[in-house]
Structure formats: structure tokens, C-alpha cells
């Protein structure tokens, strides 16, 4: 591909299809919220109503991981084709995925405070799951630090893409394999299955799947907005370098 083509950015627009999608996503998430609060949940000691956090806390992680798969895919495409658009998409997916990761950590901490640590003043106790999550967030956060450190656009795109791929590989281990093998208060530790330990009522399972889909839809929405925003900025920069 000629050098000029590689840096070319398409004029992205808000299409009617996208508008329909956003309305669909909004309705879906609203329904999930209603079901989440009104639906039946298993009666569990200590957890009580906080079992409903299954619908809100857990999808944060699914979204973060799938978001990071988008980063990996776009990074790979950038390395293969050199096209700037893929670099833009990778960076924006990383931003949104990181947001969901932060939200997952924050919501998990709040949930733990009033269940695992109820009666104490402890917000964070070095539980293996919490530690792994912090490490994961540091690894993904370093992606942005790396990007900031590199001035030249082409080099930045390529190095960030390589780092993103490495970061993606760490994810299954830090988020899934390691915490499950360690002693932890988090469901799914020490080789136990995560779901049956909570004795999920059948209705909960379906609301949970709907919640995961809902937050994935939200991710797609925010991601698309961010990509359009960034492309618009870059196209403006080309036409008229910012003072």
C-alpha cells in the first residue's frame, strides 16, 4: 500500500443503522436493569440482594476482555497493513476496555466490602482475585503510557500494537486461570466452578446472559463514538494543524 493510502482516514458518519442500533442497545440495557432489580434471586446468606451484582459486576469483565480482543485484532491488522485507521481503532478500544476494567474493579471492591469484609473496615485485603485484577489493570494501563512516550506516529502505532498483543496474552492467565487455582473468597477459586457455587436460580442465568450482551452493546456504542471522534480530530489536524 502506498504511504499516503496507509494514513488515509475515511469520513466516518452517524448512519441510520447506527442510530437504530443505539436505540436497541438503550432499550436492551434498560430492560436488563429492570429485570436485575425486580427479578427473583437465589436466597443466599451474606450475599442476599447483592447476588444481583452478578448482572452488573461480572459483565464488566466480559466486556473488558472482549474489548481487549478488539484491541488485539486491530493491533494485528495495523501491524499487517500499516493502516492508521486500525491504530486509531485499537487505541480507542483500549480506552473503552480500560474504563470497563476500572469499573469492574471498583464494583467488585464495593461488593466485597459489604459481603466478604462485612463488619470490618476493610476495603481491600490482598485477595488473589483483587491482586490479579490490579496487575491486569496496570498492564493494560501501561499501553497508554507507552503510546504517550513515543513521538513518531508510525513507531508509536507499531510498538503499541506489539505491546497490546502481549498484554492480551496475559489476560486469560491473570483474569481466569491463576485466580481459580488460588485460595480466594471470590467464587470460582481453588478449582471450584464459579456458577454452581452460587446456586444460581434458573431465572438468574438468563438475566445474566442478557446483561453480558447489554454491556457488550454499550461497549460497541461508546467505542464507535470514540473512533468517530478521534478520526474527526485527526482529519482536522491534517487539514489545519492545531495552533
Amino acid at each position: 500500500m502506498a504511504l499516503a493510502d496507509r494514513d488515509a482516514l475515511p469520513a466516518l458518519r452517524s448512519t441510520p443503522a447506527f442510530r437504530v442500533f443505539t436505540v436497541f442497545a438503550a432499550v436492551w440495557v434498560t430492560v436488563v436493569l429492570c429485570l436485575g432489580f425486580l427479578g427473583a434471586v437465589s436466597a443466599l446468606p451474606i450475599l442476599e440482594h447483592t447476588a444481583r451484582n452478578l448482572y452488573f459486576h461480572v459483565p464488566m469483565w466480559f466486556t473488558m476482555m472482549l474489548g481487549w480482543l478488539v484491541v488485539a485484532y486491530q493491533s494485528l491488522r495495523h501491524l499487517m497493513t500499516g493502516r492508521r485507521l486500525h491504530d486509531v481503532r485499537a487505541e480507542q478500544a483500549a480506552h473503552v476496555a480500560f474504563l470497563f476494567g476500572l469499573l469492574g474493579f471498583a464494583t467488585g471492591t464495593v461488593w466485597a466490602r459489604f459481603t466478604w469484609y462485612v463488619g470490618t473496615d476493610i476495603w481491600y485485603n490482598g485477595d488473589p482475585r483483587q491482586v490479579m485484577v490490579v496487575v491486569q489493570l496496570l498492564i493494560t494501563g501501561a499501553y497508554f503510557v507507552l503510546r504517550d512516550a513515543l513521538r513518531e506516529a508510525r513507531q508509536r502505532g507499531r510498538l503499541a500494537a506489539v505491546y497490546a498483543l502481549f498484554a492480551t496474552v496475559t489476560m486469560p492467565f491473570l483474569m481466569y486461570v491463576l485466580p481459580r487455582r488460588m485460595e480466594s473468597l471470590h467464587p470460582g477459586a481453588e478449582g471450584n466452578p464459579a456458577f454452581s457455587e452460587m446456586d444460581i436460580a434458573p431465572e438468574m442465568r438468563w438475566v445474566f446472559y442478557a446483561a453480558v450482551i447489554g454491556f457488550l452493546l454499550l461497549f460497541a456504542w461508546v467505542y464507535q463514538l470514540r473512533v468517530r471522534m478521534r478520526v474527526a480530530e485527526l482529519r482536522l489536524d491534517e487539514r489545519e494543524p492545531e495552533a
Partner: protein, 80 residues
């Protein structure tokens, strides 16, 4: 069902044992203090609300930030 409840009771006992025993004793004998008075009421439903509000706040923050950046772009377009 009973084995599940037994497992959960054992898990709760482990939780208490893992934490400082003095704190655990305090928890068993005292009514909830401070923020727990709100959060543990209504079978801990406020905890679910706190989680949802956190997510909502994060999304709102992102939405407002994006809107500000878009406004900047639009201003630059107007200046052209």
C-alpha cells in the same frame, strides 16, 4: 439444598476465621456502624444500587468527556 447451605455456612465461618477474630466478635454482637447502617439495610439492596451507580457514573464521565472533545472539533470546523 442442605449440602449447599452447609457449604455456604462453612464458607462464612472460614470468612470469619480469616478475618481478625476480635472484629468478627464485634460484628456478631454490635449493630452495623457507619456506612454499613445504610448498606446492610433492606437485605443489602443498597449495595446493588451502589454498584449500578458506579457503572453509570463511569459511563457518564466517558460520555461527557467525549462530548467535550467533539465540541472542540466542531468549533475548529466552524473556524475553517
Amino acid at each position: 439444598m442442605q449440602p449447599v447451605l452447609d457449604t455456604l455456612a462453612a464458607a462464612r465461618d472460614t470468612t470469619i476465621a480469616l478475618l481478625d477474630t476480635a472484629a468478627a466478635h464485634a460484628m456478631a454482637t454490635q449493630p452495623p456502624q457507619g456506612i454499613e447502617r445504610v448498606m446492610l439495610a433492606e437485605d443489602k439492596l443498597p449495595v446493588v444500587l451502589a454498584v449500578v451507580l458506579l457503572i453509570w457514573a463511569g459511563l457518564l464521565f466517558f460520555l461527557f468527556r467525549t462530548d467535550r472533545r467533539l465540541a472542540k472539533i466542531e468549533r475548529r470546523l466552524d473556524d475553517q
